[in-house]
Amino acid sequence: MKIFVPVKRVIDYAAKIRVRPDKSGVDTNGVRMSTNPFDEIAIEEAVRLKEKGIAKEVVAITMGPKASEEVLRSSLAIGADQGVIVNTDKPLNPLSVAKLLQKLAETEKPNLIIMGKQAIDDDCNQTAQMLAGLLKWPQATFASKIEISESKDSVKVTREIDGGLETLSMKLPAIISCDLRLNEPRYAKLANIMKAKKVQLTTKTPEDLGVQLNENLKIVSVEEPAKRSGGSKVTTVDDIVASLKKHSLI
């Protein structure tokens, strides 16, 4: 079984976010970047499936500028076997990413694609769903548990939904997007970090894959969320209750 795991290089979750003065986006200059946390969980899950002898090969795929190779190295250090970068300096939106992944999947024929449910930079939460649509594969989003059947031709996915947990069964090949509680990613060992440096990465371009990047989505303006205004002090329990009611919180 071959598993694809798309990974994205994003601003580190702990970095301080600054909006560019011209409101064209978020300032990434000199800001710490790292692997999208949801994607780390996806890599971890794929590597666990490999360690259990269920999967044979885990391919980490990233898209973007050359600097994105870092997240491939991190994925390799956790246990991915191969790294592929689709190199482009153009902005990528979910549909473009889904189309690029579609092409890669059509030629490489993975049995399973595990991906983060969203990237923490733009929080789109669209790529997995679009990719499933393009490939016409079944999808299970927000997974908190993944069980591959004995015969390795289907997968049972427990997903987190508003009402609780839902369990889906899908025929492979399929697409799974994962939630935070799926697993707890390991730390990469020093030895594996060093080994990962030596792995030859595969570089492709959107042109190689024959994909026209979709440019019909434009960012008009990026703004800081409104500053929180100070709260008010209450003196009695009744005041609290009244105040909560007023803001329709209870």
Binding site: E40, I41, R73, S74, R181, K189, I193
Partner: protein, 425 residues
Amino acid sequence: MLGRIVKSSIQNNGGLNRIFTSSLSTNTSISVICNKRSFLNIVPDPSVGLNEDQKQIQQMALDFANDKLLPNAPKWDQEQFFPREVMKEAAQLGFGGIYVKEDVGGSALSRFDAALIFEALSSADVSTTAFISIHNMCAGLIDTYGNEEQRQKYLPDLVTMEKVASYCLTEPGSGSDAASLSTKAVRDGDHFVLNGSKAFISGGGDSEVYLVMVRTGGPGPKGISCLLVEKDTPGLSFGKKEEKLGWNSQPTRALIFEDCRVPCANLIGKEGQGFSIAMNALNGGRINIGACSLGGAQASLVAARDHVKVRKQFGQSISNFQAIQFKLADLATQLYASRLMIRSAAQMLDEKDPQAHVYIAMAKLFACDQAFKICDESLQLHGGYGYLKDYPVERYLRDTRVHRILEGSDAVMRLLTSREMLKDL
């Protein structure tokens, strides 16, 4: 990473909100996120000047420190708990034999990389990290000077920290003047018979492996040899666990040798080579201890910066006062200079520069003195709160204090430096 953090916060604190609300408090339970943010987003940023590989190693060590050491460090300090299990976890990542060769499971990294790792780990827990650094010094010593049999016999268990090692040079009557040591080892057939004692041994009584400098020949450095002694060797006993100002998460005990028979096969290097082996190991050790001071100082400075921003007196945040602003700038500058010296000395050691030991002495002297001052001034910036155990600074202060004394005191560092300066006259 986030997954891990969210999970542990759910387990430990019963709610996701913890991550967000705790950012408002400045006590010891500051959230992991804020800690990571602070460590790297404060001047001087410890990742400045590093390449991608080094940054990745630093980040990994920092994540481990924040998850596994930081939440427990105050408890380990107060309960004098030696965290063997967590050290094993650290070793699984490669921290048990950072510069040991790969054939026995070491990570085969440079001294420079090791300094980055110790700095990052000690930002959470100086005491535990310092012990890991001593253990690494010992593993490195066996890797460099041990024969093949000794390497294969001891290193695989040491790099996993299933067994830990202690370095035994100091004696009750021989401290700064280490070459005057008097623990005697007399050859008897295929054994050495040891009599004497070692003082202040970090890990003493708990470690499984002891690298002991003993006198096998005449007086002076040339009469000293290095012997590996296993914990359960008959004739080896231990003194009481010392009560200390800091370094409480690791035991310190005396070693007592009474007709203790150690196989000659345990001689590390050649007879008479012991002092040179001990000093070479200390060269790396001094960089490691200096790096541990850097981490403690960085963490203290971060805490001070956070405190002065929220503390209000005279109707305003005390960070508005220029005296406080300039103090912060001075501390940052001292820390930056210390870090550059330690890293540059580490690089000299990696390049096997014959002058490295002098530059290491200057770096250790400067960094350990300055780092302690930074902890002290950071405590001062906290006012009375800094004196409380609810705040982390006093722990860093207590733990970094001993770095000015051990692995060669400030006086010894000055001796080494001035001796070299006056050599040609």
